[in-house]
Symmetry: C2
Subunit: 351 residues, 2 copies
DNA sequence: CTGTTAGCGCCTTCAA
DNA sequence: TTGAAGGCGCTAACAG
């Protein structure tokens, strides 16, 4: 146990202590399966490495090999359970591929290209962008060109959510899920709806709104009976939008919030306004956030398998690149719970 | 704009295009403020770098400098809002220091040393461990020695939660917070308690239990009147433990779950068992998870400023190392809400 | 099967 | 102020 008293243990130290060359030590410790090393030398190297607490310098490996095993992950906000679930999925899958995840919580979409530039310097094996897509074309173009730079530098790239760029994408069925939800709600007897639609520019929110409208139209519920109110994509956004609606001209018997946290905010607003739940107003959300499965009344929503989404994105970037963008759809599934009770015929409230 | 058609742009490419040496280019792009470069050369280098989409190869920089600006972060489970909030705080603070966060979601505490070994290879600037500490001494020792290896390799190290190793630590006031909570509950008129105590081996859970007992003792509520039931530290753990208690011999009028997600599970179990809330049973939690602020009845709990905790840990590792371990306490604050109504004198239920 | 050696891209003395 | 050159730790030819 001839530990160097300080500083870093290098491969050369291990080789010396084992009485072999650095090449042999390298082959034993980090070699690709192809090269064989005699058993006794292998043992000596392993023993030396253990005794010295050797750990390979990954920056050096990265330089020699030209690439790291880092997977960069951009999320909009890691404190948001939607994104932390996706991140968990990415990490779980990355582990099986011996990849490590470097995560950035970007906060604002307009900062994403900057983070990508930083990430580019890491020479990552791959990059996954799970931020929010918006209608801002200029921003989308900047994002696209930054992603192209990354691809040219040899990184694999994947997007999560909308397929708005010619890049591998994990597509969430926002539209289809909302459509199915709308139909279920109509089947339950609801006729007059209010949609807490989130921000106008957010594609995810828009898709869910559009899908919901389509579902209503499917069953002949005209758009004139549906109110739409925009607001933040957050709990407080749901609360405030709902409150505004309540103090103005709410004519609905069923509220669809385009995500669960907004729905929870809306429920609080309804309660604060004295509306009994679930009887006084039906409420539905989207995402099926695990942490929110115990709210009362239990929330009707559209389940998105978020961990699977993250894992799917990682599998995408681990597969060899293909000539044209691949799409991986993940199914959305309606989950009816207590917050949207069935109505007898023609009980649709008129507010 | 003489872009190379493929491969990676290096500093040499930039230097050539700008008509300067690599040294000059380096000084312009990544130089330490000391070195001055003539204005016109500076401009040419900058222009070339922009034209070529140059981004410094950080592994190479790391090798030349001997260290990266990576901050490694170990959390127990990133999908858990407790840890994702901490992670958000770390990242927010890291950004201000131009550090980047490499995160690992470890799952099981016994895997933490392995992750640390991997991290060690990254030659990180610092490492923050926010996993769960347990009573397992062997494991703690392994963790400690792995952290020492990291320190010897030049990394700064900090722990979040208990101060069980001679290392910089952000200390959460688990014990004190639970103690204050117990006193408040007694002041509200509660006398008979059940504690959903989480796993026996988890220090955080133990501290909260111990603090709670101490608080009761402070006000003369003897331990004989307090039931303790152990279980998982999760929502389902709370549900199952509560259910067991209900079907066996619950003698309490107030349940303290040692974290919020368990409390939410307990609330569901109570509801499923037909206990009216908040009247039929008081429930309190710990953490004040933001996502759970809208459960009904709104949950009495102990607020821990989790993002601040993360940020504090990062500040700790960014400060120059000191000769002896530093402690940074974060305050816990009791938040009384609807789930623990005040009782008139002697209304304590006997179950 | 093992050892020798030339880079990987960058930073940083050291000279000029 | 600028340029030339060594070296960071490792991998991957290439010899032996």
């Amino acid at each position: 146990m001839t530990k160097r008293s300080s500083g870093t243990v290098t491969l050369m130290d291990v080789a010396r202590q084992a009485g072999v060359s650095v090449a042999t030590a390298s082959r034993v410790l980090n070699g690709n399966g192809a090269r064989q090393v005699r058993a006794d030398l292998t043992d000596r190297v392993l023993a030396a490495a253990a005794a010295l607490d050797y750990s390979a310098n990954t920056p050096a490996q990265a330089m020699a090999r030209g690439r790291t095993n880092v997977v960069g992950l951009l999320v909009h906000d890691i404190a948001d359970p939607f994104f932390s679930s996706i991140a968990a999925g990415v990490m779980r899958a990355a582990e099986q591929h011996r990849g490590i995840v470097m995560m950035y919580s970007t906060g604002r979409p307009e900062r994403e290209p900057d983070y990508l530039a930083t990430l580019c310097g890491q020479r990552p094996h791959a990059v996954i962008v799970a931020g929010s897509r918006t209608t801002d074309r200029a921003l989308r173009d900047r994002l696209g060109s930054q992603l192209r730079v990354l691809e040219e530098a040899g990184a694999r790239v994947a997007l999560i959510s909308q397929h708005v760029l010619p890049i591998d994408t994990v597509l969430m069925e926002n539209r289809e899920g909302a459509r199915l939800l709308a139909r279920r709600l109509v089947e339950l007897g609801h006729r007059r709806f209010a949609v807490l639609a989130g921000p106008r520019h957010l594609l995810t929110a828009r898709d869910r709104l559009a899908g919901f409208r389509a579902g209503l139209a499917d069953l002949g519920v005209g758009p004139s009976r549906t109110q739409v109110a925009y607001g933040e994509f957050t709990r407080d956004g749901g609360y405030l939008t709902m409150r505004d609606l309540l103090t103005r001209d709410l004519r609905a018997g069923c509220v669809f919030a385009v995500n669960d946290v907004m729905a929870v905010g809306a429920i609080s607003a309804l309660r604060d306004h004295g509306v009994p739940l679930p009887g006084g107003m039906a409420v539905a959300g989207f995402d099926d956030i695990a942490t929110l499965r115990d709210v009362t009344p239990s929330l009707t929503t559209v389940r998105l398998p978020l961990e699977e989404v993250g894992a799917a994105a990682l599998e995408l970037v681990m597969r060899p690149r293909s000539d044209r963008p691949r799409l991986r759809r993940v199914r959305a599934e309606v989950v009816v719970r207590d917050s949207t009770p069935a109505l007898g015929r023609d009980q649709g409230r008129a507010g």
